[in-house]
Amino acid sequence: MPSSRTGLPAPRLSARDAAAEAVAGIVQRPGRAVLTMLGTVLGVGAFVGVLGLTATGAGQISHQFTVLQQTTVTVEDNGPANNVAPPSTNPPIGFPANADTVASHITGVVAAGVWWPVSLPDGTKFTGSLALSASSSQTITLLAASPGAVRALGLKLVAGSPLTTYENNTSQHVAMIDTGTAAQLGISPARLASQPAIFVGGLPYTVVGIYSSAQRIVTGESAMLIPEHTALADFGNPLPGIGNQDEAQMVIATRIGAAKAVARQIAAAELPSDPARLAVTSPPNPQNLQSEVKSDLAGLFLILALITLLIGAVGIANTTLVAVLERTAEIGLRRAVGARPRHIAAQFLAESTALGTLGGLIGTCIGVGTVVIFALAKDWTAVLNPAYTLPAPLIGSAVGFLAGAYPALRAARTSPLAALRSA
């Protein structure tokens, strides 16, 4: 575009030249540039990291829920309203004798059964034999479990067979143990055919099955399961009442999506005369939980990230303003060689925007790295939404641009005369 009056082309600063000047301005003070960027780096890094970690955590939670919690209903025996049991004895358990069968008639139930932790006197020893030298352990949890409960636990057998209805009905002294307990007591799965026994306070239980892992209740702890009726005969009724740790419970494995429906029906089906005695717990809605995690945690951290970004913006604004004051001579010189105020503004704006963008890029890398390393350490799957991860560096650009606006304006308004005199 030629100048109308002078016959000269109008002064211009191409985008390429402006970018080159901005980069030159940044690299000539690398230390200062890094410090200036720090706020943006931290802000954008926190932004990407928080969103990534929240998504990763929520993904993990939802995964667990869909597989297990989402198919588990728990019913607890709260005890009779008027306890008429004689002192120092417990009332009969709230579940009927045919509780497993009743539950299995409800649509959606895969397996269901009654269980409770057996309360043992202090100092009760678990030993592999009656010999004095036998290895013993006191860290084993003894659980009474109906055949249905054993199925609902989702045990992975490595040897033998699960507790059967026959063994339950006839109160047999049989038991199932996990591989950890087996190793502790010196019982190898290969020896199962020779019918090894475990003595609990002197009472023998023949080990009929060894399992390596469980999906419900006994996940990750050493446990010994004995039939429900055997436990009633040997150790009496469990103490009812939610929260005392020993109350009889029912564990129900349901089909996916059926847990809510099962939870609504189970109490009335099991105990039509007093359904209120049974407290039913159904899984929380995973969607609700995810959004709770998101809104509570992420909201807090995002505010933190925003504050960091704000500090980053102030940092860039401050440094750019100092640079403007420091480079007044340069501004005057540029005006003297034909730069217009807008070119001066563009240069400082380009510098601050480039700084912000660079900070945003580094911050995004740090954020992504944090999420990936965290997920690796937890053995989780890193979840990073490209919709906010990829444009994250642009947040830095925006911060840099906005932060540079006022200093750039100041630079543009600097009189070339004052600028040239200053040096």
Partner: protein, 229 residues
């Protein structure tokens, strides 16, 4: 061909209070190819005249014709365009960018005046060679002597082949030896066709010019010395 500079009652009064008439209405003509020294003591109005001639400041009265064009009627865009193409400014303090090489400092003069990128580097190298610094293209100002710095500044001023080479106390920061070398350079540039105006308070420097204009208390006196033939 119109004169490079024609002042018609050009005046500049700094608003007060009290108002300071830094330059009283002045008439002056400097023809193309001329070599003029403007002399005067501190506070005489030399700098005001440089800023007006360099289009860095606007007059409060009269008119200034550069190459026959009345600059008083021009807007910022046109004045910037003239600064970028027709005027080469040399300052006492050099005003080199400290972190840029000699070549990059000279390249700055082509940044805003629409010179194509491909032409800028050869022109800048030529300009540096013409001031005897062809071997120091990549030197940064901190490694250059004062005389070399001022020669880089002159290369930057002449790279666009301006109508007017306007030097404000160019030897003010140089020792006598470097000052002499620099003045010889200006002499040579004038011989190759540049119109040179040197503002100085140094009589030795002024003696290089063909004509001298004295300025005192904002009043420009008659020119002494022959006008350009």
């Amino acid at each position: 061909m119109p004169p490079v500079i024609e002042l018609r009652g050009l005046a500049r009064t700094y608003p007060g209070p009290p108002p300071v008439p830094a330059l009283r209405p002045a008439n002056l003509v400097i023809e193309a190819g001329d070599y003029v020294a403007v002399t005067g003591p501190s506070g005489s109005g030399k700098s005001t005249l440089v800023h007006l001639l360099g289009l860095l400041d606007a007059p409060t009265g009269g008119s200034y014709l550069l190459d026959g064009l009345d600059t008083a009627t021009l807007g910022d865009r046109d004045r910037s365009a003239l600064r970028g193409r027709r005027i080469g400014l040399v300052f006492q303090a050099f005003h080199l960018l400290p972190y840029r090489t000699a070549l990059e400092n000279v390249l700055l003069a082509g940044l805003y005046n629409s010179t194509p990128r491909s032409e800028r580097i050869p022109a800048a190298v030529d300009a540096l060679r013409s001031v005897g610094l062809g071997h120091r293209l990549d030197a940064v100002p901190t490694t250059l002597s004062g005389g070399e710095c001022q020669r880089v500044a002159i290369a930057r001023a002449l790279v666009n082949r301006p109508s007017l080479l306007l030097c404000d106390e160019p030897t003010g920061n140089l020792d006598s030896g470097n000052a002499a070398t620099l003045m010889e350079l200006l002499d040579r540039l004038n011989e190759t066709g540049f119109t040179v105006v040197v503002i100085t308070h140094d009589a030795a420097v002024a003696s290089h010019a063909r004509g001298t204009i004295a300025i005192s208390d904002g009043i420009i006196s008659e020119r002494t010395g022959a006008a350009h033939a």
